[in-house]
């Protein structure tokens, strides 16, 4: 078993297998990986993180594939995290985003990793944040996180990004209303892909209206999210997107002085509460499910012996050494 130091050294030197294994450990919730993450932490904070999100079928993977090509031409090293949903029925997942980026798989400067949302306690947000840290420590200049932006979890993920790009396609109409929940608020740049399709002008004006009404994120600031048109499959609009991302980066520097999230109280607060929450859940849940207490309690509620409010108090409070008047 490799020691923490060995692993850390390998990650920092860019060893792909070591990085892949660390991310796997994060995914699988291996406790020892925390030590690795602690040791890697001082090496993070360099990478620029771009979030790309949008409903299935809008062409995110194709867009990311083109972004990779452009950024590699500028000699940037890249880490890509492609997140796909875990099946709620089986717990398995087909991770197919990589297919559209496979032409880069032999490029040593690009590291592509597919992740499933998994949905266990701690879930997507923490795993992806930690994976971002690992790719950061590995030395990647730019990290792109691609998610299906429909759930609250995925919305949280993009909070770890410097710039978030929301992708839509023309004619989404009512679907734009549907994705409004939290998504529009976190967008820094909006991109209408497959812009040759019918309805792209209308989609643009609809979006413009909704964004201008709804942008809490940029309230008080001077960044007005641009809406771009693109046809990723034909490499049209991608250079313009990257230009806007550059502009956004400059904007962040002008407002915050630097690009280090962890030098900003609001970001740290966000991340810390998330991590504390996950740590708590991890620590307490392990005990409850492992000992069978959880299942016993389930059966007690089913038999009508107990209400869930009392049941959860019974499970948790003793673990926290608190009582409910305390």
């Amino acid at each position: 078993m490799t020691s923490t130091t060995e692993t850390v050294d390998k990650v920092i030197s860019g060893d792909v297998r070591a990085v892949a294994r660390v991310i796997r450990d994060i995914d699988d919730g291996i406790p020892e990986v925390r030590d690795v993450l602690k040791a890697l932490y001082p090496h993070t904070g360099r990478a620029y993180v771009i979030g790309v999100t949008g409903a299935p079928g809008v062409g995110k993977s194709t867009l990311v594939d083109q972004m990779i090509a452009h950024l590699r031409a500028k000699d940037k090293s890249l880490g890509i995290l492609a997140v796909d949903p875990t099946s709620p029925f089986s717990g398995g997942a087909i991770l197919g985003d990589r297919v559209r980026m496979q032409r880069h798989s032999m490029d040593e400067g690009v590291y592509i990793r597919s992740m499933a949302t998994r949905g266990h306690f701690g879930g997507l947000t923490q795993s992806t944040r930690s994976a971002i840290d690992v790719l950061d420590a590995m030395g990647k200049d730019i990290i792109i996180v691609e998610t299906v932006g429909v759930g609250q979890d995925e919305v949280d993920v993009v909070r770890s990004a410097h710039t978030t790009v929301i992708c839509v396609i023309p004619g989404m109409g009512d679907d734009i209303q549907a994705i409004k929940a939290g998504i529009l608020e976190v967008g820094d740049i909006f991109l209408i892909n497959k812009a040759d399709r019918e309805g792209s002008d209308k989609t643009m004006s609809d979006l413009r209206l909704m964004i201008d009404m709804d942008q809490k994120k940029h309230e008080g600031g001077t960044w007005r999210p641009p809406i771009l048109k693109a046809q990723a499959v034909f490499d049209q609009g991608v250079a313009e997107l990257l230009d806007e991302i550059d502009k956004h980066a400059e904007y962040l520097v002008s407002v915050y002085g630097n690009l280090r999230f962890r030098s900003r109280k609001d970001k740290v607060r966000e991340e810390l509460s998330e991590m504390v929450k996950n740590r708590l859940i991890e620590a307490v849940m392990a005990g409850i499910t492992g000992s069978g207490e959880f299942e016993d309690t389930v059966e007690a509620i089913v038999r009508g012996e107990l209400d869930p409010y009392t049941a959860s108090d019974n499970l948790i409070l003793p673990k926290l050494a608190l009582n409910d008047t305390g």
Binding site: G57, I94, G96, V99, R100, Q102, R103, V233
Partner: protein, 562 residues
């Protein structure tokens, strides 16, 4: 109005069948039906019995007619097999051009009446044998063709001015066809005498078979070039074989096979019309290619429905005036995906029944699979049995004595109607999406096929559908041994040597100029066929010409729909 069945008779029949149904229900109360559900391989539910009631609205003139009469339900030619049997055309290709040439001669001697060529993966994908991407694949699933020299060896000693040749080739189709024409002309044969088919159907590649090169729009342009060239210069050639075979092999249902194939056909007609061609100039040379799968009646009905649907589409949608524009002529191949590796001799039976369905369906040309298809390229013996299967059907069992023998069967007519209705529903959906190209971009047919394939596999695994010898009547003992064809490993090395030699020995200046002319044609929008034929005669290789396409039109990559 020319209702087939009169109202009085329908009343009588209804009473008789009501009585029958009551009796049947009584029996099944005590002794349940043999299965919970009776369905076709496509999972279409089948009734206990079909009666006149199931076809009561059939209008003779509108729906049936006579063979050679609109809507051609009973056959496109008036004389069908009474005049001439279907062409027995066995798909063949293995190893080197010389090896395949031997197989061609054997099959012709054994009685086949048309040639059909299978190419290896590098050729199908537009690579030369010495491309790094071709390593390990030379000659493994068909013949390796790099230059017109290979084409000459392939057809050595065969009367291509008298026999028709089918070539199953898609992205590189213009190049392979160009090499064929070049080869013929080098032999002194006038191109106007050449008869045959190139598959040349890229839409179904994006949907099902997945040999890719360029994206959909430029692929369509290249296809239209070949249609235009054929119409003017090679009038006896079918420049496109609009295919459903592969769609079915990828796991679609019979209805989907019909709908997506005819949907592709509609897209090709529209492309040619947009080019400025007159529908009656090219439509008579459009041909089709269907699968013949396990369910005998579903397949027979499917072929008849296809003919009727295409006639209606060509007349009502495209207003074709020439009767021949309304004809759906098709080649059929028995279903490869239905054959098993276990107890392979059972495959002879499957193929025979599938071939019979194709004959009942009025196919113009037929390939029967060999029993060892699931294991390797067929041996000569296995291919011969497959050919004999066709000959026995043609000459011993009476299937070809009368035209459309199953016409009028309540079941077959009802299924024909049903398949047509359900297929048109899907075609309407595709129209709503903006046509086939649009539907492909939206991954509609691909997803439908993936879903159907998964459903079917689950049914097999749950034993809801039987595969004899696999999930029922399987035996643990060794099956009767089958000898398999092995492709000589040396072949790849020899072929590479040959191609390299040709590249060195040719007039490279001339070849370069020809390739530049081809690039110009691609960029300027001129028909690519003339420069291709010139380049072929100058010994340009397959990949050199395909690389020009890749350069100008870009490459298409698998979007990975599962």
């Amino acid at each position: 109005m020319s209702l087939t069945y009169n109202r009085e008779m329908l009343e009588e029949a209804r009473e008789a069948y009501d009585r029958w149904n009551r009796e049947v229900e009584e029996t099944f109360e005590k002794h349940p039906e043999r299965l919970k559900r009776f369905s076709t391989v496509s999972d279409m539910e089948i009734q206990r019995i079909y009666t006149p009631a199931d076809v009561q609205d059939q209008d003779f003139n509108r729906d049936i007619g006579a063979p050679g009469q609109y809507p051609f339900t009973r056959g496109v030619q008036p004389t069908m097999y009474r005049g001439r049997l279907w062409t027995m055309r066995m798909f063949a290709g293995l190893g080197s051009a010389g090896d395949t040439n031997t197989r061609f001669h054997h099959l012709v001697k054994a009685g086949q009446t048309g040639l059909s060529t299978a190419f290896d993966m590098p050729t199908l994908m537009g690579y030369d044998t010495d491309s790094p991407r071709a390593r390990g694949e030379c000659g493994k699933c068909g013949v390796a063709i790099d230059t017109v020299r290979d084409m000459e060896d392939l057809f050595e000693g065969l009367p291509i001015n008298r026999i028709t040749t089918s070539m199953t080739i898609n992205p590189p189709a213009p190049v392979i066809w160009g090499m064929y024409i070049a080869m013929a002309e080098l032999r002194g044969i006038d191109r106007r005498k050449l008869g045959g088919t190139i598959q040349n159907d890229m839409l179904k590649e994006f949907i099902a078979q997945k040999t890719f090169m360029c994206p959909p729009k430029p692929s369509l342009r290249l296809i239209t070039d070949t249609v235009e060239f054929g119409t003017k210069e090679v009038p006896r050639w079918n420049t496109i074989s609009i295919s459903g075979y592969h769609i079915r092999e990828a796991g679609s249902t019979a209805v989907q096979e019909l709908a997506f194939t005819l949907g592709d056909g509609i897209a090709y007609v529209e492309a040619a019309l947009n080019r400025g061609l007159d529908v009656d100039d090219f439509a008579p040379r459009l041909s089709f290619f269907f699968n013949s799968h396990l369910d005998f009646f579903e397949e027979t009905a499917k072929f008849r429905a296809a003919r009727r649907m295409w006639a209606r589409i060509m007349e009502e949608r495209f207003h074709a005036k020439n009767q021949r524009s309304l004809w759906l002529r098709f080649h059929t191949q028995t279903a490869g995906c239905s054959l098993t590796a276990q107890q392979p001799y059972n495959n002879i039976v499957r193929t025979a029944l599938q071939a019979l369905a194709a004959v009942m369906g009025g196919t113009q040309s037929l390939h029967t699979n060999s029993l060892d298809e699931v294991l390797a390229i067929p041996t000569e013996e296995a291919a011969t049995i497959a050919l004999r299967t066709q000959q026995i059907i043609a000459e011993e069992c009476g299937a070809a004595n009368s035209i459309d023998p199953l016409g009028g069967s309540y079941m077959v007519e009802a299924l024909t109607d049903r398949l047509e209705d359900e297929a048109f529903e899907i075609i309407n959906k595709i129209d709503d999406m903006g046509g086939m190209l649009s539907a492909i971009e939206k991954n509609f047919p691909q997803q439908e096929i993936a879903d159907a394939a998964y459903r079917y596999q689950q049914q097999i695994d749950r034993k809801e559908k039987t595969v004899v010898g696999v999930n029922k009547y399987a035996n643990d003992e060794e099956s009767l041994p089958v000898e398999i064809l092995q492709i000589d490993e040396e072949l790849e090395r020899l072929q590479i040597e040959r191609t390299v030699r040709i590249r060195n020995d040719r007039d490279n200046q001339k070849t370069r100029e020809c390739l530049e002319k081809l690039e110009e044609a691609c960029v300027e929008g001129h028909n690519v066929m003339p420069p291709i034929i010139e380049a072929a005669k100058a010994y340009a290789t397959l990949q050199e010409m395909c690389d020009v396409f890749r350069k100008v039109f870009g490459e298409y990559r698998d979007p990975g729909i599962y």
